[in-house]
Amino acid sequence: MIEFSNLDIIRNLLFATQWTILLSLAAFIGGTSVALALTAMRLTGNSAMNMVVRVYVEIFQGTPLLMQMFICFFGLSILGYEISAWSAAILSLTFFTSAFLVEIWRGCIDTLPKGQWEASRCLGLGFLQTLRHIILPQAIRVATAPTVGFSVQVIKGTALASIIGFVELTKVGTMLNNATFEPFKVFSLVAIIYFLLCYPLSWYSKVLEKKFNVSR
């Protein structure tokens, strides 16, 4: 059996953290892109498109992220679409992230008074012009803090990828635990690393929120 010094443990965990960060970034980028598309669909005011977005949100907010990952990974491959744990994780995290972000952003757009739309209309601005010059600049300011806040959920969500065998921080944690039989130490370290990744974002999100509330 290989002996693991504390330094070995930490080195292995930090190496794995790179994958956690990479997966988080990929999921966040995928999630925001899809959420943007969904928000655009919703803003058209077309009732069929609205319905599609609502069902999407209902499904992906109403089922466990883990189940989404299982379906993407085991489910799709049995149906003949061979898919890696990495792709399955990104795919399901994209669903998950976008379903929450589209709702968060809707809340932000809804907080803008209806008068902003009406005043723009009375000045002769078209739908896209209103969106671009009046609604989005204000909505983005409101949405930044909760979006940064949600990125913490994305990072934590990537931990589930360990269950479908993707080797990231949590997975390496369980592997090290099996090798060292020092669960207390190993999982404490894993938790600390996650905390160091997430806490600055949580903190920054709060700062942004305060700044925004003051500037109003």
Binding site: L65, I71, F74, S162
Partner: protein, 220 residues
């Protein structure tokens, strides 16, 4: 091709898994909200050291993944002498998790109570506990009820992870079934659907409860 009928022989397994998840959800919802309420009260009105302690707990939980919390409790704690069954570990982990999130949510509600309400209660001679129970809690909860109930749904869905320490919940059942009949897609698809039903049902139940809790609104 999909063969959903291959799942039928295992319906008992699914059902008992579902029941485990329901049981655990009900139990931890109560425990978690109780914990959150206590912590929020401390954070709002408590001694500053106690406040600091609560803040640390909340931030630690909110900034680490649930699965790591679960592994820490189930694998880590026994190694320093606290032996826990998978079920116990799950109840503790879920409660602590919901407790942290609901602390933040409930405190936002407490923050919303006007100073006037508190002064009115004091002037009427209510003591602190009476004031909390009779004057503060109901309106505070009304404000944040939607956020609190969504958090409960999120924690219920997050509980799928406890299958990893072999609690025989719904996800465990799904894994078991697909390992026996090799119908992974069907098995997980149906399970996802059951979870979806569960979250709809949970929200529905919360709405009913909310109508009773905040009946004073209707009475106007």
């Amino acid at each position: 091709m999909l063969y959903f009928s291959d799942l039928l022989p295992y319906s008992d397994l699914f059902f008992s898994g579902l029941m485990t998840t329901v049981e655990l959800t009900i139990l931890t919802t109560f425990l978690g909200i109780a914990l959150g309420t206590s912590c929020a009260t401390i954070k709002q009105y408590g001694h500053h050291l106690a406040k600091r302690l609560v803040t640390t707990y909340v931030e630690l939980i909110r900034n680490t993944p649930f699965i790591v919390q679960l592994f820490f409790i189930f694998f880590g704690l026994p190694s320093i002498g606290f032996k826990l069954s998978p079920w116990e570990a799950s109840v503790i982990a879920l409660t602590i998790n919901l407790g942290a999130y609901s602390t933040e949510i409930i405190r936002a509600g407490l923050n919303n109570i006007g100073k006037g309400q508190i002064e009115a209660a004091k002037v009427l001679g209510l003591n602190f506990r009476q004031m909390l129970v009779h004057v503060i809690f109901i309106p505070a909860f009304e404000k944040i009820y939607p956020a609190l109930t969504s958090q409960c749904v999120i924690v219920m869905l997050g509980s799928a992870v406890i299958s990893q320490i072999s609690v025989e919940d719904l996800t465990y059942a799904a894994n078991l079934v697909q390992s026996r009949n090799f119908r992974a897609f069907e098995s997980y698809f149906v399970t996802a659907f059951l979870y979806l039903g569960l979250s709809v049902l949970l929200r529905f139940a919360f709405n009913l409860l909310g109508k009773r809790l905040f009946a004073f609104r209707e009475a106007r």
